[in-house]
């Protein structure tokens, strides 16, 4: 396994330092030369790739905020004795079991960009309920289109975040609440000062999980939009496009850039948890 993960990461870097941009080179028919960081400079300097990175940031922001807020609110509500809790929980969680590709099919319809007479999906729904001003081109918007793709992602994973938070809530010993009540804390104070702080490790895990999923965002975009759509491209999609045209060097470089972004975010977290483990 070490070979497949770390060996391949090394190989991937190696490819990304070459000028292997054609099919002949990819198949080993033509030689490829070492060019150092040239591909990286070219990529990071190109307007198109910067757009992908911007999209990635925007997507991650919307996705993270959406799932965290919704997941947390659901968990908070369901944490108290609620009638039919199990039912609500199951319904909120079920989208998680569906593949992004399958949900992409329905969301492509819901996020259809047609307006007016030929409006479908949500645009049509807004029309029916008289909220016409909410109609918009969804993912066809160059700047904000990617945020529209984050909506299905939120739909799929809010339930998961809820489950995480719910487990967090349940993990807090009852004595703690009792103690708070005895000290005369109001319900709100109890949450604010006793319960919420206890949830921060859960929140951190959820952030990490959702965050790294969003950096790898690919399936949804492929199924709702198209790989070649400029509006909604992100690095993972660029990578696929490069690979499809046998531009292995650039594909590898994009892969490495993604890896570096993930590593920068994840490694401190891993080090932190493994320290905690070791100290136990």
């Amino acid at each position: 396994m070490a070979v497949f993960v770390y060996g391949f990461i090394a190989l991937n870097f190696q490819t990304s330092f070459t000028d292997s941009h054609t099919a002949q080179q990819a198949n080993g028919v033509a030689p490829s030369a070492f060019v150092g960081l040239e591909n990286y400079f070219a990529l990071l300097g190109s307007e198109a790739f910067q757009h992908s990175l911007k999209n990635l940031v925007l997507y991650t922001a919307v996705f993270l905020v959406g799932t965290m807020v919704i997941g947390f609110v659901w968990a908070w509500i369901l944490e108290r004795p609620t009638k039919g809790e199990g039912f609500f929980r199951s319904v909120y969680l079920f989208p998680m079991a569906v593949s992004f590709i399958a949900s992409g099919v329905v969301w492509r319809w819901l996020l259809n960009s047609n307006q007016g007479e030929s409006a479908l999906g949500l645009n049509r729904l807004f029309q029916i309920v008289g909220l016409d001003f909410l109609q918009n081109p969804w993912w066809n918007n160059v700047t904000w289109g990617i945020a529209a793709i984050a909506i299905p992602a939120i739909w799929q994973l809010s339930g998961y975040v809820m489950a995480l938070f719910l487990a967090g809530f349940r993990g807090i010993p009852d004595e703690l609440r009792e103690a708070g009540r005895i000290d005369g804390a109001s319900e709100w104070q109890l949450y604010r000062h006793v319960i919420f702080p206890q949830l921060s490790p859960v929140a951190l895990s959820a952030l990490i999980i959702i965050g790294h999923m969003s950096l790898k965002a690919f399936d949804l975009i492929m199924s709702i939009s198209k790989p070649s759509n400029y509006q909604t491209k992100v690095p993972a999609v660029d990578m696929f496009v490069f690979k499809s045209s046998y531009d292995y060097a650039n594909a590898a470089a994009v892969g490495s850039i993604l890896l570096i972004i993930v590593a920068v975010l994840i490694i401190p977290y891993l080090v932190h948890t493994s320290r905690k483990e070791g100290g136990r």
Binding site: V5, G104, Y248, L270, S274
Partner: protein, 300 residues
Amino acid sequence: MTTAVPAPAPADVAAGRPVRTPERRPVQRFSVGRTLRYAILLFSLVIVLIPVYVLVVTSFKGPGDASAARAWALPQLWTTENWVTAWQTLSPAIWRSVQMVVPASIISAFLGSMNGFVLSRWSFRGANIVFTLILFGMFIPYQAVMIPLLQLLLGLDIPSGIPSLILVHVIYGIPITTLIFRNYYESVPKELIEAARVDGAGMLRTYFSVVLPISVPSFVVVLIWQFTSAWNDFLFAVFFSSSQNGPVTLALNNLANGALLQNYGVSMSGALLASLPTLLVYIILGKYFIGGLMSGSVKG
């Protein structure tokens, strides 16, 4: 109109809150907070279920029903035509997915359980570092290994399609399965394994006669996890297979984006078909499914 017995059955909820308001019971007085909470819950319920409504309704619509004006309406004529077409198009791919997912999940579960066992109980120098490296393996974007992997599979002449995908899912499933098993074994009393060791059993012997039999709950969780993630995978599918030999996610994507572009009815039936296995897992094994999701979250 039965007197409600306290059972958190879905029917209870479907009936809605107002049903249970026996006049003379001051037990739960009306409060703004409570009403607000249920309002939020029900509103969320509707939002979450909208795509389901669309999927189901559209999948039963005939071509005549597909006009934009009737987009949200129920079918004028319910038809299973779309389902037949979708099944004809997707069934070979569904079968290929089965052939891929079953071996892939079983093999990676076994490897994970052995790894987890070794990591948690047969402490060796640097076990913690190895563990952290494995954890990181769970987080790497697969894009960063894709090109070398592609070259390797081509180089070894492993046929593209299902064989390649099994291999890939096994390899990249190991980190998560190892993690789940390791966490489980950490909770197993040390004495159990110590005893086997005292009785003179070696590592393999201990594993097969002591550890394996008690691992069943973890196996369930891991198998569910691997099953769903391999079934739902699209990234590897699109890199290592083609529409002729790929799994169902790929076939579905081609169906939805392909020649039948505007035929939403067929693609929605297809989406439902392709989701059935994982939905069944979710419905039947819900408890364990959630367990799997939780183990998928990292908490050292």
